[in-house]
Subunit: 310 residues, 2 copies
Amino acid sequence: MQAGVEIVEVGPRDGFQAITTIIPTDRKIELVQALYCAGVRRIEATSFVSPSALPQLADAAEIVRAANALDGLDAQVLVPTLRHAERALAAGAKHLAFVLSVSERHNRGNVRRSPEESAGQYAEIALLAPANVKLRVNVATAFDCPHDGFVRDDATLALLNRVAVASPRAEIALCDTSGRAGPAHVSRLFNAAMARFPEVERWAFHAHDTYGMAAANVLGAWNANVRVFDGAVAGLGGCPFAPGATGNVATEDLIWMFEGMDVGTGIDLDALVRVARDVTLLPGAQTGGRVRDALGARMRIRPGRPPAPI
Amino acid sequence: MQAGVEIVEVGPRDGFQAITTIIPTDRKIELVQALYCAGVRRIEATSFVSPSALPQLADAAEIVRAANALDGLDAQVLVPTLRHAERALAAGAKHLAFVLSVSERHNRGNVRRSPEESAGQYAEIALLAPANVKLRVNVATAFDCPHDGFVRDDATLALLNRVAVASPRAEIALCDTSGRAGPAHVSRLFNAAMARFPEVERWAFHAHDTYGMAAANVLGAWNANVRVFDGAVAGLGGCPFAPGATGNVATEDLIWMFEGMDVGTGIDLDALVRVARDVTLLPGAQTGGRVRDALGARMRIRPGRPPAPI
């Protein structure tokens, strides 16, 4: 098996935030634990946001506490502003994922600020965060904006410049918020960003499957040497500020794909599929992906490798 | 725009054969005409098989007549045996697509013959077919068998050797019947086949999206210089002899992907999506793909290119 990839399970944040029916906190914690037991070792567990804007995530502090109790789990939490980053740190978060958008309109819809103002907030967070707190930046609409369409590479690179200057130690995730990127676009932008910012050590890709391109786009990112990939169990997801942007790539589809490429993820696919089936039962869950149902059919044969000798 | 790809629309054959409710012949012909009007110039229009085994395709001769009346349409028909190839030629078919499986079990389930016997039948068809009749060979289970799992490259290459010897002028399609191939597997097998059989001028890839890998696998084939791709409008499909093998890749998803790569298909995506929506209304149709629904949402912005200047 080749050196593996790191899968970041974002269902408990990106998935749950799209569900309006409040999920009991205990149920959320059970899901985080079930993911952990399936071998997931990095989870975007929640988001610190305004409870009035997203009541679903009002229990963020409790989720952080429960996630931190799991040995070896890298639990990141999404923070859209400096104030919420401070709340997350106070709650004991060990990994902050800041989010900002290249698209002015999308960023304003999200946090009522310009992308430049958000980049400034991020720079303050990078100064504020203790050295033992990990940092990630989710660059939304890096390829395409749900409202305004195609995003030029130079616009994304210009914002990345501000982000990279603020903290080269942070991991940077380029997010295909609308799902309208294509694999050549994904490869091209990652290649350009990696060449322009060699000081950034880790890059990640966040795919949506809205147009059925997630697997191809993940391959495009893989081909550009990206080794960190976001997925949401059962394809949970969407974005409340990106109309039509249903469909985070299903984590089980990602794992299936990488297993077929003989690339390790550390996650037990069968166990994850069982978790995914439970997730589909959550009231209000919008799910996606194909592997969960395909594996529920008659055959349980793994791809890409010969049957074991008798 | 780069040099384009050729899309082979297989919905009227691979899609319809999976539908048990008989579709009126006029409705089928309307669909072929609608696909033609959307710019499709190659269609697997029907199959000559035993009417008792597949009553849905008992009207093959009428479909051939109607398809041949469309100027510039390359209408291929699937034939699983010599006898049905003779029937197809007698009905005026101008393009025969022979099908055989690498997997013994799959081939026997399909035509009650060993793959070697089927290869022998194909050799006879290649001798029989007039020079102005085009030939294609669909190599089913080239990557994986729905019953027996992983198919070794050398097994597929051995069968390809028999096929290539019989007629180097034929196009050869490698088919991911179960949808369990991965992109690296697809690239590897096409690279090996092309290197081994340089006399074969045209290779094609037939993807199923059962595990969500169709777009990635198409990219894998594209990267191996394949330029002919099968798709089924609305993701119609499945295989009556491949349990769980629902999900031909949707033609509209293929076109979306290639448009994003700036690769021409000659097909009008908007027009094709309208046809796809009609197809979903056929009683008994099993559909798939994402682009049809995604484009039905609020946004109608094309991927991979800047908005037109004002």
